[in-house]
Amino acid sequence: MGPDLWLLYRQMLRSRRFEEAVTDLWEKGKISGEMHLGVGEESIAAGIVAHLKDGDAMALDHRGTPPLVVRGVDLVLILKEFLGRADGLCCGMGGHMHLFSHEHFAASSGIVGSAGPVAAGFALAAQHLRPGNIAVAFFGDGAMNQGMLLESFNLAVAWKLPVLFVCKDNEWAITTRSQHVTGGNLLDRAKGFGMPALEVDGTDVEAVWNAARQGVEKARKNNGPTFLLAHCIRPEGHFLGYTPLRKSLESMVGMVGPLLRSLPARKGASPGERIASLGSITSLIGRTVAEKYSKRRDPIYRVRQRLKADKSRLNEIEKEVAKEIQQAVGIALS
């Protein structure tokens, strides 16, 4: 049996609309500090969380909002947390990078790679206390170069822990191209630990759902961990307000000024090396901007294309989701 695409679409849309509302609040200055969105990852969150049941645990990274939304955490509580309110999900103490829901066994962290060891621990507890329950770790391709994550792969294999390791591969490590700082390929790397490794187009929610089912079933039967490599996009950049995506002239000047000043500076690298550096910065900016405006790999657009024959049902879902988010924002701000 395949997934219920309508349900998955609704969940993905809830996450997207929610993060759009968050963006609006952030821009209005109601949310402080950094804000990393999970836009482009909704298919991964929805396709995986659909398989979770009570007692399953999630270790999340700094893009933890979509899995929490899809898992059913109260949207008003999340919003209030972002607003820094005492009645928020974590009493205003955590903020968006440090979201915790004990009730849902969901814990996030802003330390890259830390979802690995935490999920291994969740899985160890499940082995002892809740057989049949599993843990999921969500992290990015950038985290794949973090020792603690790779060490937890080994731990999970050696101890046969019920974990699904989900690598959301958007090809970025903060603002560096992952490829530029990563040796080998990630799938082989995971396989090297003796763990089954699956690769999917993470923008295709059905593909994610199918792959996740294999890994989750295996873990539930106490047959050890699975690694899932899901390729996705990051259209909003590393975080909101990421410099190349700002529209102001001021930030353009701020970016270009130092480059032009340092290009002819006396003493330093050869002209060729300087031009090469300039070229790589230009290409990073180009790539960031192109990703922002490319629709083709938008997971929500993709699943909607498959459902578009039934316009009235789509309409109905979209209206309901818009209303749900609007209401949540209204309550959170009141």
């Binding site: 020792g147 903060i174 480059l259 340092s262 290009l263 090396e273 550096s277």
Partner: protein, 337 residues
């Protein structure tokens, strides 16, 4: 003399050093984007973006320094140094001692630190005293552009490992990147004199372990560093209106600690108020009390520090970080004794 921002001063001093010494290399997360001017001028071989592998690249800085380079390794935030602590605690800090002084580790770990912009307790810590606790590590925390450049130069020239911390409320590029993200809708309490100010035409190293008296005062001595210095200056101005003369001592380096300057100032005023954005317990504030007591100086003592995990909520955060009001209140209380 010219005027420069705190952020530019660091990179400018670093560029001056790099131009003079090809052994200086910069690496760390996103350095091509964070230090674009250095990246373009010195090329990728000397300004190299690293994977998110703090344990490996800080550890590699130790090896590189042992083998002849002078690395300036960047960690995105001091909080993330947790991942790489072994390289500092068990290696960089101990090598000179272990080798009987025959092998040195001339490296700089550069990291933004500090809070006040609502980023939560995993991204806003100070940790300078926590690091300075380890024998063998030098810890530098400048409070203004002139010191920022001068201390960067001396950090690079130092023959041992130096942790160089730049407070994010002072480094406007970091605050823009992490705090405001280009928004005009958010405001943070940024001390203007720390973010931009006069700097020399050519950088000269500022001595490590030398505090600076920012304001003389005979009734009480406020001792701090980084943003805390500016909060103390503000508090001192308020106290002046209440006819209390409060001196402000800027430590500039946590380790080595300028005990002489501290003891001199405190023995004159007889009152010590430590203002420390790092955690209160088992930290710098207690250490300063110990130094003064060991010197046999009779003193009235108080401290305003961060006492708990820094809350995300801006209002709560302002209460937890050492702000001007808390400093004034604590000083007044101390004056009653």
């Amino acid at each position: 003399m010219k005027t420069m921002t705190f952020a530019d001063a660091i990179d400018d001093a670093l560029a001056q050093a790099m131009a003079d010494d090809p052994r200086i290399v910069v690496f760390g997360e996103d350095v091509h984007g964070l230090r674009t001017s250095l990246f373009v001028r010195f090329g990728e071989k000397r300004v190299r973006p690293a994977p998110i592998s703090e344990a490996a690249f800080v550890g590699a800085a130790v090896g590189a320094a042992m083998a002849g380079l002078r690395p300036v390794v960047e960690v995105m935030m001091v909080d993330f140094i947790g991942v790489a602590v072994d390289a500092l605690l068990n290696h960089a800090a101990k090598l000179e001692a272990f080798s009987g002084g025959k092998w040195k580790v001339p490296m700089v770990v550069r990291a933004p630190c500090g809070g006040g912009y609502g980023d939560g307790g995993q991204h806003e810590q100070s940790l300078w005293a926590w690091l300075a606790h380890i024998p063998g590590l030098t810890v530098v925390v400048p409070s203004n552009p002139a010191d920022a450049g001068g201390l960067m130069l001396s950090a690079i020239e130092h023959e041992g490992p130096v942790v160089y911390l730049e407070h994010k409320l002072l480094a406007s590029n970091m605050l823009d990147f992490l705090g405001s993200g280009g928004r005009k809708t958010v405001q943070y309490d940024v001390p203007a004199e720390g973010t931009s100010g006069p700097v020399p035409d050519k950088w000269m190293p500022a001595p490590l372990g030398k505090a600076a008296m920012r304001r003389e005062g005979k009734d009480i001595t406020l001792v701090s560093l980084a943003v805390g210095v500016h909060r103390c200056l503000e508090a001192s101005a308020i106290l002046k209106k209440k006819r209390i003369s409060a001196g402000v001592l800027d430590l500039r380096t946590v380790s080595p600690l300028d005990k002489e300057a501290l003891c001199q100032a405190v023995s004159r005023s007889g009152r010590l108020l430590v203002v420390d954005e790092d955690y209160r317990d088992f930290g710098l504030s207690g250490e300063l009390a110990a130094v003064v007591l060991e010197a046999g100086i009779p003193v009235q003592y108080g401290r305003v520090c961060t006492e708990e995990t820094i809350p995300y909520c801006r209002e709560l955060e302002d209460q937890v970080l050492p702000g001007t009001k808390r400093i004034v209140d604590a000083a007044l209380k101390l004056m009653e004794r």
